[in-house]
């Protein structure tokens, strides 16, 4: 069926009704097969994980999503605490990375001349080239130590009145994971926001400047509203990355199944509990961890679809998302 459709599209693309030569048929079949491989991998991933997680899915039902008790030795597998850990770390990263990234993107598009914007843009994007495990190493030996000795105590002294800002800052913990994730998703949010902001038509800016607006007023009134859904899409793409991030988080989050009582407490995210416990897990424990992966896959799937739709809406169709 697929091949019939292809023949049709091929004819119409050429604009003439040539008969399909054997070479062309083979060529279509081979490239079409590659597309089918992609389909098979994505579908296979959902099927395989569902199948592997089946014992846990059947034993736990839907309530595992909000059950927070996880005790492999008593066969209790509630995923709630890990979902909470993922939610806290990714939302923290999302908020702070987006604020910084949008300001940087505005600076690059609206203020900096080309000879400044290009290298700065490149340097920020290089952050995305550093492997997750290297972030983790740096997180333990540099960032974590800084949080324990300086940043953590300072936060408690000056922001102690904010809920959850107390406890004992350690090298590893929820807050270390939040900061590492913020740094890690910054380049993604920055690059996409920059492209979206650059796509705002010049006439929008000229119109408001002609009315006497200052540069910031121009950004606030003409640029940001126009780019809003694209910037939102950029933020959500960053969120998807934060949710699925594994090793950096596993190294710095402290790995504890407790519900964290404050922002310095150790915790788990969905990805880090898999990385940490899977090697020793057997039987139902193993199935439960694969169930966690399945939930993670479903969440990132939904997040990605939403983000793509938002970015496409602003930049106009598939062509504009080359860079991601």
């Amino acid at each position: 069926m697929a091949i019939d459709r292809l023949e049709h599209s091929q004819r119409s693309a050429l604009g003439l009704k040539n008969r399909l030569k054997p070479g062309d048929w083979l060529f279509t079949a081979v490239t079409g097969f590659a597309a089918i491989v992609v389909l098979a991998v994505v579908a296979g991933m959902f099927l395989e994980l569902t199948q592997q997680a089946w014992p846990a899915l059947r034993a736990g039902g839907i309530s595992v999503v909000w059950d927070t008790a996880w005790d492999p030795s008593h066969k209790v597998f509630g995923v709630g605490a890990f979902i909470l850990g993922t939610l806290i770390t990714s939302v923290f990263a999302l908020v702070f990375a987006t604020i910084v990234a949008v300001l940087v993107a505005l600076f690059l598009v609206e203020i900096a001349p080309g000879w400044v914007a290009r290298p700065v843009s490149y340097v920020v994007e290089l952050l995305a080239a550093i492997p997750s495990v290297v972030y983790g190493l740096w997180g333990i030996f540099v960032l974590g130590v800084f949080i324990r000795d300086h940043l953590g105590p300072a936060l408690i002294r000056y922001l102690g009145w904010v809920p959850f800002v107390d406890g004992t800052p350690l090298i590893t913990g929820l807050f270390s994971a939040c900061l590492i994730l913020t740094i890690m998703i910054l380049p993604t949010v920055m690059a996409v926001s920059r492209d979206v902001i650059a796509a705002v038509p010049r006439s929008q800016r000229e119109g408001i400047l002609a009315l006497g607006a200052t540069r910031w007023e121009m950004i606030r009134i003409a640029v940001l509203p126009y780019a809003r859904s694209g910037v939102l899409g950029a933020a959500i793409l960053g969120l998807a990355r934060a949710v699925g991030e594994t090793l950096a988080v596993t190294l710095v989050i402290g790995n504890s199944v407790q519900i964290p009582g404050n922002i310095f407490a150790p915790a788990y995210t969905m990805a880090s509990v898999i990385a940490n416990q899977f090697p020793e897990a057997t039987g139902l424990h193993r199935a439960a961890l694969i169930e966690v992966a399945l939930i993670l896959l479903a969440i990132t799937f939904v997040i990605n679809v939403v983000a793509r739709l938002l970015v496409w809406k602003v930049t106009g169709g598939q062509r504009a998302v080359v860079q991601e």
Binding site: D24, T28, G44, I99, V120, Y122, F141, W216, L247
Partner: protein, 294 residues
Amino acid sequence: MTGQERSTFLGRTEGLYRRRKAFDRVMTGAMALAVVLAVIPLALILFYLLRNGIPGLSWDFFTQDPNRPGKPGGGVRNAIVGSGIIVGMALVIGVPVAIACGVFLSEYGQNRMGAFVRFLIEVMAGIPSITVGLFIYGLVVANQGHFSAFAGSLALAILLVPIVARITEEMLLLVPRSLREASYALGAPRWRTVLRIVMPTALPGIITGVMLGLSRIAGEAAPLLFTALGNQFYTTDITQPMDSLPRRIYVYATGPYDYWHEQAWAMSLVLVGIILVISLAVRALFGSRVTVRQ
């Protein structure tokens, strides 16, 4: 308007104008501050990689295998060679599929079916790497009954395909239509036109895509944890568990020994060095259109 009213009105607008200018300056300052905040982490990471990594680099580091845990010295030859083999095999598996997929999208993808495949590739690019590792674990490792370098390569290939396929499609679509038309006018069928005219023209771009994919998967440890596993010993047998740089960094970073930490920094320096060199080379060759993202 009396003189009195006039001067207060002007005074008020002038005050308002000054406030607006001041706020504009504050926000400009905020943007500049954000740039500084965004650049600091990279500077710090590179600084500590150099400071802590260089002391660990030695001849032994590259030519010896790890000692038994707790005995200082030794090197990470097995991890370096292992990474090379696993990543190389992932390229061999993934690149043909990715390029064929890119060709499919650029040649036959301007319809619903193409949009659907393009969407699948976006989805595939967003899948967390640890999930890919578990998928291959269930599909290959659990069925074969043992971990293997080959399984690790399969997992990395799955991460590679969406990156290379998207860039290939972009590069093929950049080839001018007139080249194609000239080929058709000479009576060449479509497949020959694509293979002999369009693809050679887009080749530098496609190679760029492959290099970017390479630098993306070279640093991945999460998909290897449950597939290639790791190996204390040197091996080139792809049916056996095999070590890799990112995975050994992970093990050493969490270990108790100081010389492990030193070697973890040195391995990170080597890994980031390789990735940055690829990234800079791609940039020099191809400008800013394409970038590396982990």
